[in-house]
Symmetry: C2
Subunit: 418 residues, 2 copies
């Protein structure tokens, strides 16, 4: 069977299952997830064996240790997978929720009801844990799932999905509830992106190359988890000690994450006092500083920041610093160079804070808090598939509710339109 | 200036304005809309003159009367435009609304706030009234608007937008609040679809050709107003008189609309009694019937329905009729042949109704009511840009709320992540 037939068959199977999943009760879905947790625990050996095959193949290819670390599925990682399933069991089920209801003067009753999206097509890197996390969120929200993972973790993925499918089958779920593209031919991704009749939404999880490919080729709506070029603006009315503490946290607590700060904007009136204090703490945290001409006056040790630096997601211990003359200039910079992800203001001025959160075009705006809090767990939403920085459908953490849509249910008593 | 420069310049202007619009109060936006209503009234003559030019050009080209009817902008149509502006003034402003708030155990305050999408790119047929309707909805929700209308109404569009721009300017709105592509070169559409950095969402309003072009070419997220292949399922537990009345209304009250029924599905147990009664009323309403073999037994006058008929949006006095053995079969037909738009069940059985509204994959499901009610006004949502039958972002009437998205606003007191 060719790659096109293989992918199409899996997608058809997922589509057929999606209608049955939409009709399941919360209890039925939770029992399936619990069955998966139990079977993953019982079958650790087969997962670990498959994972060792993948790891050995990666070593032979000379892939980096950091890459191999991410695809490891040992006992510790399996524990995390099992925990993630049980965490999702504990979350409320969004499907079927009535989010609004009203009656029209003619007596028609109108309700808005949350329903699953249908089939989620997920394209992800070589990280086997995504198989479990995506399955749990998809099933809990009543969607079926078609997975296409990175080829370097194919054996681990096949092993995990085989176990999950067996668990779901035993719990009475339809066969296509979760499907995995098992052919590693790269064309499989493009074929998925064209299957508009069978896949309702594409969720990519991966680097810029993958996201760009999908943006170009997908005929199916996409929920993007794009770059995180995040800013903190230190306003003239900022508490300086707070500003230093929050900025260092936003940059250096875990620089590899998408919600870490990449550029710090500083109001000119506070710069002379703030920047030397901040410099000390950043240097102690091993952060390399790149500053514009105006800021450099107060941080002589910094390198020069170039125009392109402001468009760069470092994901590293590097920070751009730029002086601004006003909150307007800070907002203009953020809306021009940012990625609409996570942006913060540090200020004691309520009016400035209000202006900032209204005008910064970001999925999440922070006032006197670190951008690092932009996360489904930190927001109290539970597990997530990533952080969306697109504007349609869902902004911010893509948690269970983001995997549903709202439809109208209209009840009459033989109502006709005049 | 070439078409690419022309379109890009307009889009840049709209983008710059969008940040200012996001900061406006409801009062400021309403005053601008009222100013537009006033100036349209004052400048009727120039609109009508421009419109006559368009109509004469269409007549020379030999275009159909029905086409020319739709692009007419005489006194009556201008009255409607003015009324539509005032209707939107009366609607609540969605921008800035707090749709949820909670506090985390660490004291972080989290709010979800509705904000405008930014720049709406609207591509529409030769219908000048769309200029006014789209402007009012865009501005009221705090978005700027880039319009690209059908070339046959270009003079009318230029005249109307010139007046609206003058009104908005006088009310203090930024220059780019509304922009019109004035070059009728067809490449303009494709150029718009690539301007990802300047346009936040594309809304097409037009026939299948336009929608398909946009689906293929757009790099920008789209809110589709797609085909309406709508069904009514007459369940075995239906009240027969109600079923006849509702079905005839769904088909024949205004067949040219997207929410008119195209296929009627009838349970086999009720068919012998229902179909002959329905036939009489449909024939009296001048509806041509196409039936499957099983239904034809009870409606001998009907033509044969072919497989392709079930995928056809007639927008005309033609109806497919198909017999089904169960509600499951009806749902399978709807989810296979339908366009996820408006689908109804006629039944006295509450369980059947519940099953139907949960499993029919439609933007709006109707119980004992005509599909013709699928409309922003009928739902009490006010004016709309169309009816979305996609699943992401908005399903059903695309009213003011659908032109916004929700972002997170997180307030701390120097909170850092441990």
């Amino acid at each position: 069977m060719g790659i096109a037939e293989h992918v199409t068959e899996k997608a058809k199977s997922a589509k057929a299952a999606s209608y049955m999943l939409a009709a399941l009760s919360t209890g039925e879905k939770n029992r399936a997830l619990e069955a998966a947790a139990g079977l993953l625990d019982k079958n650790r050996k087969s997962i670990i064996e498959a994972n060792i095959k993948d790891i050995e193949a990666c070593r032979e290819k000379g892939l980096k240790d950091s890459f191999i670390d991410r695809l490891a599925a040992g006992d510790k990682q399996i524990d995390t997978m099992i925990k993630s399933l049980r965490d999702v069991i504990a979350l409320p089920d969004p499907a079927g929720e009535i989010t609004g209801q009203w009656e029209r003067p003619n007596g028609l009753k109108i309700r808005k009801m949350r329903v699953p999206l249908g089939v989620i097509g997920m394209i992800f890197e070589s990280r086997p844990n995504v198989c479990v996390e995506a399955s749990s969120l998809a099933i809990k929200s009543g969607n079926s799932l078609l997975l296409r993972g990175g080829s370097d973790s194919i054996n681990s993925n096949i092993s995990i999905i085989k176990i999950i499918k067996e668990a779901f089958r035993s719990a009475g779920l339809p066969e296509g509830a979760v499907e995995l593209v098992e052919d590693t031919d790269r064309k499989g991704v493009e074929i998925m992106l064209g299957l508009k009749g069978y896949i309702d939404v594409i969720i990519p999880r991966g680097g810029k190359g993958l996201v760009d490919l999908i943006a170009e080729k997908s005929r199916i709506p996409v929920i993007y988890h794009d770059a995180g070029i995040c800013h903190t603006y230190v306003d003239k009315a900022a508490d300086i000690d707070m500003a230093v503490k929050v900025c260092v946290n936003a940059k250096a607590q875990r620089p590899s994450t998408c919600n870490a700060m990449e550029t710090m904007l500083v109001h000119k009136d506070i710069a002379p006092e703030f920047l030397p204090k901040a410099e000390k703490v950043f240097v102690a945290a091993k952060v390399s500083l790149k500053a514009d001409k105006e800021s450099k006056v107060f941080i002589p040790s910094a390198q020069d920041a170039a125009e392109d630096d402001y468009r760069t997601e470092y994901n590293d211990y590097i920070l751009n610093i730029k002086m601004v003359g006003s909150i307007e200039e800070a907002l203009a910079h953020i809306n021009t160079y940012g990625s609409r992800h996570s942006d913060a203001i540090i200020t004691g001025d309520k009016k400035a804070a209000e202006k900032f959160v209204k005008e910064a075009d970001s999925a999440a705006c922070f006032v006197n808090a670190s951008t690092r809090f932009h996360d489904g767990f930190e927001f109290g939403l539970g597990a997530e598939m990533g952080i969306s920085n697109q504007k349609l459908h869902v902004r911010g953490p893509l948690a269970l509710v983001g995997l549903t849509s709202e439809k109208y249910v209209v009840t009459g008593a033989g109502h006709i339109r005049e």
